[in-house]
């Protein structure tokens, strides 16, 4: 074994550059794969862990206490298929007239519970203590960390109910309530529904959950089950954003793996071919064929291992910020999103294994090679077609240095194909990224393509709630329209409403005025027009299990309104619904708008307009709307990083090939120089040798890139791109992509070309 080790070490030393290239390629692709896996892991594992820790409720069900008695509900816990149950707990919805704590005015679902622990939904107390006495309330903190003890003691004044003091903050992965009070306090608030929390033995799918609930509630009077919320919905909400990034991360990961395999295969087969003499010497020294293969495997395994370890380190370093972006704004509860260990383990074991397999195939050739043939390797007769082409090239009008270079790939067709494959993958990546960038930029520009400035105006009263006199928002609207420069004014009221079938409340935006710009964001159906119509983004629809045409019930202030989803917007908050002013009027006739968006006429001066607003009504806060889009920045940012990585890797593939070619052709180079080839001609010749593979690689790489782009834009869960944004391919761009192929090739060839140009001939001729 030590002989193998010594021979490998010598081989590595003689191929420092290639060793470095293998290491770098493995490093880059390990980083990419690790990120994709890390994202995949974070998308579900932390939720599952935190959910299991709290023994989260698979189903949170609300019953009508008038129809089902507490005894009947308790009995459901003993039905088959129910693993554990808690409740019944009294439940009601409070209306918060003003913005409170960190939340906006609207509905708040409250449950009466004596104890945060129990068989199901063990609520984790973050600050303060549990509500035990009347007048006390514990509020759910939905995101990472805690709100801190500073906000304990806040007084809440719900409409039509006695005031409550916040004595604690807690978090429930089951999202069983927005806040909790003691059962005595709940009794005073006249609970409208009874909450039961269930864990089922089979709870992997929505179907199993439905079956479980049906079995559990089979004995109850008809119509007693009101709504049921599935934990799978919560899980989807948790991972929605990360899921949106997954398709393109996965694609980049796969591309990275392919490139690594190609490069490693290419490098090893190159080493075997150019090492024929070396193999012969090893064999004549008494190395067995297996030992020879071992030498070649060791030769690539050492840099691959180092690259893999460094890749895992850098991947873990980048994963942190990536996960922060992917989970920004997600209600993670007590699930701590972090980089898990297993992707690192998978990479550390998998990447070297993959490299070994990629190396094994060409190394097997070394196994078969006879010692005599290996030593005598050299002027093997070449194939006819390649020679004819070279002949024709020699007679063409091209400068001889160019035609000589163009003929070179024909001498080693297999190697040239591998190189071309690296270029194909590089161009595929560039295609995918430019496509993604175009789509994301178009998306970022959506609705403001006319370049007209938009001004956001907040009514000063919003923070203090609806203390403004009734009808004052109409006056404000008129004022904003009358100021010079105003073109369109959109009026918006934001409130939290509860949605039939869900314990969580959602945001609802109600609009009046000019909604043309908003309507342009519709990708399916139409913008809501009258009372009882709404639109929502893909994330909302997905997470709430509704689609265009469905009807939902919206509840606010104890009033209910049926609402039909008439349109799907391109994007949108997973927890927000867009509707009309008429719908709001049905729920709350006294509601006032708090926010206005003014689109100025093209060319109007935004600063003058803002000043005019302030002068006319000092209570209004006006500011220029800047549209920086986190999704756009993230996708474009990461796509760019990966493109750079994979382009570098592809260029390194070319680099390695050209390096091998230059090495093998040193004698030819020496001769060419001896007959007067100038350094510039040597460079031209070497670069020309990759031109044709570059152009062909460019042409072949574009279609898969276009397909990959399609795949990604069709599967970004949180954004539904309209067709116009998906069609980003135009002739000049496509031409530029072919140029990209050539550029990758030339970049890779340039360094070895320059070193070939500087090669000292005397040395070459002496060594041969």
């Amino acid at each position: 074994m030590s002989a193998v080790w010594r021979a490998s070490r010598a081989a590595v030393k003689r191929r420092r550059l290639q060793t470095f290239v293998i290491g770098l390629v493995v490093l880059c692709s390990t980083t990419t794969v690790l990120l994709a896996l890390g994202l995949l892991a974070a998308a579900s594992a932390p939720f599952d862990r935190a959910f299991d820790e709290q023994r989260g409720a698979h189903t949170v069900a609300a019953f009508d206490p008038a129809k089902a008695s507490p005894e009947q509900l308790v009995r459901t816990a003993r039905r088959p298929g129910v693993e554990a149950a808690a409740g019944p707990f009294g439940q009601t919805v409070l209306e918060m007239p003003d913005d409170w704590l960190w939340m906006s005015a609207g509905s708040l679902g409250v449950v009466g519970r004596a104890d945060p622990n129990g068989p199901v939904d063990r609520i984790r107390l973050l600050e303060g203590r549990w509500a035990t006495a009347p007048g006390e309330i514990v509020v759910n903190w939905p995101v990472d960390g805690t709100p801190g003890p500073g906000r304990l003691g806040t007084r809440l004044e719900p409409r039509g109910a006695p005031p409550l003091t916040v004595v604690g903050f807690a978090t429930s992965m089951s999202k069983s309530a927005g806040a909790w009070v003691s059962p005595e306090q709940m009794a005073r608030m006249h609970p409208t529904t009874a909450q039961m929390l269930y864990r089922f033995t089979n709870a992997a799918t929505e179907r199993e959950l439905r079956t479980g609930l049906t079995t559990a509630t089979a004995g109850l009077p008809a119509g007693s089950l009101g709504t049921a919320q599935s934990y799978l919905t919560l899980k989807r909400a948790f991972s929605a954003q990360a899921d949106a990034y997954l398709p393109f991360m996965t694609l980049f990961g796969v591309l990275g793996l392919l490139v690594s395999v190609l490069i490693v295969g290419n490098v090893v087969s190159g080493a075997v071919v150019s090492g024929h003499r070396h193999i012969g010497v090893l064999k004549s020294l008494g190395f067995t064929p297996n030992q020879v293969v071992a030498v070649y495997l060791t030769m690539v395994s050492v840099p691959a291992l180092i690259g893999c370890v460094l890749g895992v380190v850098s991947g873990n370093a980048v994963a942190g910020p990536l996960l922060r972006v992917a989970f920004s704004g997600v209600e993670t509860g007590s699930a701590s999103v972090g980089v898990s260990r297993w992707p690192s383990v998978v990479c550390l074991l998998g990447m070297p294994a993959l490299v070994a397999v990629a190396a094994l195939i060409p190394a097997a050739r070394a196994h078969r090679l006879s010692a005599a043939r290996a030593i005598a390797a050299g002027s093997a007769p070449r194939t006819g077609r390649g020679l004819r082409v070279q002949r024709r090239l020699g007679g063409s009008r091209l400068p001889r240095a160019v035609s000589l270079g163009m003929g070179q790939p024909l001498a080693r067709p297999a190697r040239s194909l591998l190189t071309m494959a690296a270029i194909v993958l590089g161009v595929t990546t560039v295609t995918l990224t430019t496509g993604l960038t175009s789509t994301m930029v178009a998306y970022g520009q959506a609705g403001k393509s006319d370049g007209a400035p938009r001004i956001d105006v907040q009514a000063g009263s919003s923070a203090r709630g609806r203390t403004a006199p009734a009808g004052s928002d109409r006056r404000t609207e008129r004022l904003l329209r009358s100021l010079p420069g105003a073109d369109q004014v959109t009026v918006r009221a934001l409130t939290k409403v509860s949605l039939g079938g869900h314990t969580q409340t959602v945001f609802a935006n109600f609009y009046r005025g000019d909604t043309r710009a908003l309507a342009s964001e519709i990708v399916e159906g139409r913008w809501p027009a009258g009372a009882g119509e709404a639109a929502a983004g893909p994330a909302f629809l997905h997470q709430h299990g509704v689609s265009v045409g469905d009807r939902v019930t919206v509840r606010l202030n104890g009033k209910e309104a049926p609402v039909t989803i008439v349109g799907k917007t391109m994007e949108g908050n997973a927890q927000a619904l867009e509707s009309t002013w008429q719908t709001l009027f049905r729920l709350d006739p006294t509601a006032q708008a708090a926010e206005y968006t003014v689109r100025l006429a093209p060319g109007a001066d935004a600063r003058k307009y803002i000043a005019a607003v302030k002068a006319a009504d000092p209570s209004l806060r006006a500011a220029l709307l800047r549209s920086d889009n986190a999704a756009t920045t993230t996708v474009v940012g990461f796509a760019s990083v990966f493109t750079v990585l994979l382009t570098v890797v592809a260029a390194l593939g070319v680099f390695n090939t050209v390096l091998l070619n230059v090495r093998e052709r040193r004698r030819d180079l020496g001769m060419l120089k001896s007959i007067g080839m100038t350094p510039r001609q040597v460079t031209v010749m070497t670069v020309s040798s990759v031109m044709v593979p570059g152009v062909i690689g460019g042409l072949l790489g574009i279609p898969p890139g276009i397909v990959a782009h399609r795949l990604v834009v069709d599967h970004v869960g949180v954004v539904a791109f309209p067709e116009s944004m998906k069609q980003v391919w135009h002739l000049p761009q496509l031409a530029a992509l072919v140029v990209a192929g050539v550029t990758i090739a030339v970049l890779g060839a340039l360094v070895p070309a320059r070193s070939a140009a500087r090669l000292t001939i005397a040395k070459v001729l002496h060594n041969e």
Binding site: R382, R397, I675, K763, H766
Partner: protein, 236 residues
Amino acid sequence: MTTDSDSSRQVVVRLEGVHKDYGDAKALDGVSLEIRAGEAVAVMGPSGCGKSTLLNMVAGLDRPTSGTVRVHGEDLGRLNETGLALFRRRHVGMIFQFFNLIDDLPALDNVALAAQLTGTSARQARRRALELLDELGIAGRKDTYPAALSGGERQRVAVARALMNRPALLLADEPTGALDSRSGEQVMDLLIDLNQIGQTLLIVTHDPHLATRCASRLIEVADGRVARESTLEPTA
């Protein structure tokens, strides 16, 4: 063709105090010599004494550690890499022990290459290459690839290539070293013929027979120095 080193003739090569070190090893240790137009000079000496190094200095393939090399009036030390390439193109032709032909090109294109690099059109270059192959008696092998040529044939193709640009100086490094004796003789005859029509020759060899047959002057090198210089009587 000459029996005297006629001092009236033009000096083609002049080395003055040329040293060449490879690390600690002294490949050349103060070599000075002159070669005049039309001469055929043979350099002899044991393996590793610095013969090839000396030849490379003259061809501008390598630079001396110290000393000057002038060829055709040109101080090679003053030329950059491109300048050296252009110098070789115009003034020297080289042949090597192992021929150094390009395996992927047939004989004709291997020869034409030398002219094509200077921008001569493919047609013209091939025409002249064919003339040369014809003169060297291997026109019939013009479409054959090096792998299918005999050693002697390969060396003739190499000679033809070296002559393509009508060099003032033909350098040969052990031109018969890889050939059987019959092919070696033929290549030798070819070199003698070339010298007869005025081609200046510098031949490195360790074959005394070759040296005495071809050369008008003999330079013996030992340990990187010129050990002895002698004028030879033509034996042919």
